[in-house]
């Protein structure tokens, strides 16, 4: 689990640093997924038990991280949706998918045609 979260986070950071809006959105949603998995694992992973404190229960999972992760997932979805719409709009208005709204000079393709 820990290794998975680590790999996911590093991929997300790589994508965030690409400077393109599509990898940016992808990286942000990956980062928030990694954060959600992290929250879940912070409540101690206990397979096979319910997160409810019932009378006479011997063993149960901590319900709080599950509540937290639900909230975090909802907020994360909202934010991802928002930034996706924003990125699409910026792409449409500036004609470039670079986050600065213009191709950097070093990556600009040579002019084609006459």
């Amino acid at each position: 689990m820990a290794v998975g979260i680590g790999i996911m986070t590093s991929c997300a950071v790589y994508l965030l640093l690409r400077g393109r809006t599509f990898p940016l959105v992808l990286g942000l949603s990956m980062l928030s997924t990694a954060a959600n998995l992290f929250i879940l694992s912070m409540g101690r992973l206990r397979p096979g038990v319910s997160p409810i404190v019932a009378a006479g229960a011997e063993d149960y999972a901590d319900p709080v991280p599950q509540a937290l992760v639900l909230t975090a997932i909802v907020i994360g979805f909202g934010m991802t949706g928002f930034i996706m719409a924003l990125a699409a709009r910026t792409r449409h208005r500036t004609g470039s998918d670079h986050v600065d709204g213009a191709e950097p000079v070093s990556e600009r393709r040579p002019e084609q045609g006459p």
Partner: protein
Amino acid sequence: MTHLLAAPIIVPALAAALLVILHRAPIEVKRAIGMGATVAVASAALAIFSETRSGTPLVYRLGDWPSPFGIVLVADHLSAFMLLLTASLALAVLLYAVQGWDTRGKLFHPLFLFQMMGLNGAFLTGDLFNLFVFFEILLIASYGLAMEGLEVEQLRATLHYAAINIAASSVFLIAVSLMYGVMGTLNMAHLAERVAEVRAEDVGLVRAAGLLLLGVFAVKAAVFPLYFWLPAAYSHAPAPVAALFAVMTKVGVYAIIRVTTLIFTGGEDGVMELTSPWLLPVALITLTFGTLGALGAQRLATMTAYLTIASIGTILTGVASGGEGLAAALYYLAHSTLIIAVLFLVADLLSRSRGAVGDQLHPGPPLRQAVPLGLAFLFGGATVAGIPPSSGFLGKLMILQSTMDGMMVIVVWVVILVTSVLTLVTCSRAGSIVLWNYIEPDQLAHDRPPRAGEWIALAALTGCSMGLVIFAAPVTHYTGEIGAQLTSPGSYIHAVLGSGQDDFIRPHAMDRVR
């Protein structure tokens, strides 16, 4: 149990939801609802302020669940102070916005109210996870507000701003859950108690979580080196929105003050002291870079955005020196919030009466209402630079006095005094270019001249700023009380957790994180 504490969150939420439903209603109806809700929030803030005067923090347990299990709202001196400041700023800014700014975007009023809800919630919550939730609410409202108008520049600036803040939110979640994993609670008062009991081998984890948390707050507060999103986002946002954002960076400062005075106080052996080695240097660098940025700015709005960063640096300089410095920093926080709002609004009025030149620092056509605009700019510039007898002067003086007995005293004095002079140079340069250098107009400016309501809003903000000078004694007495309450968090913890607190520890918390 009074439900007063929930009002600053519930009222804007309901009013904003109503406004979303009524999005086809005539603008007058929207303005009436928006204004009414803001007035209601302001009176609730005033009531909370007077209720907390006695010194006992008010606690509201949502659903009457006993803490630390339920969600709590807590209002101590600091929260009440921030609520009142936000409400006064919001009233003035909304008055300014309803003179015509609010017609540019359909959702201005609901977003404005959602932003207020997020701000008030962040100041009132007594729980780290709810702090995250309210941060998200105020951020998503601020993205919408910053893009109002949908200019290309705004979209680009908002994309950067949103991307940085969403990434920071993920880090916030990681920090919060790491805290929960080690300490088994998220209630801030409970954390304050628990942090002393953390096992030696877990100290590193808690410190890591705390530093991640402070890093996130530093992003929100635009502290060096995490401030690069701010100038573009603020200077391209509509003027009333930018003026409201003046309090948004202060949420980050508020959160830093809250966790450092409550949770990471250092304890007996000082292992939980997280801020002392770096907060003061970082604050001074922030102050320097903000001032230099303002000096190099090409537009009035950009200049003001950099001055926001500089003000954060000054406040944190006070916070870093603790004790009296905290009180001085809070006085400066109130001053800088008001004066930066004034500067954003003046920049907007100036840019509108200069036609195509806008707020760029180039000679423009003669101004129509040069004298009142000039006076307003003079007031703003002099106050932000700290010319006596302005509130900026008093605030900086108190911060300087509070750093008297530190090791870094010479560095602090030099940085604060030199940046003050540079700010003065910045404002004089901007003022002389904008107000005195005329070119013959090719075409007359067609933008609408300042309206009476806009002048009233501006006068209210300058009046509040002058009030900070005239009533300096009671205000500093009050900030002193805030500082005293913050440095001895016992009353806060007691109010939240109550006395007969059974030492319930969640079943798997406090065992080693595997």
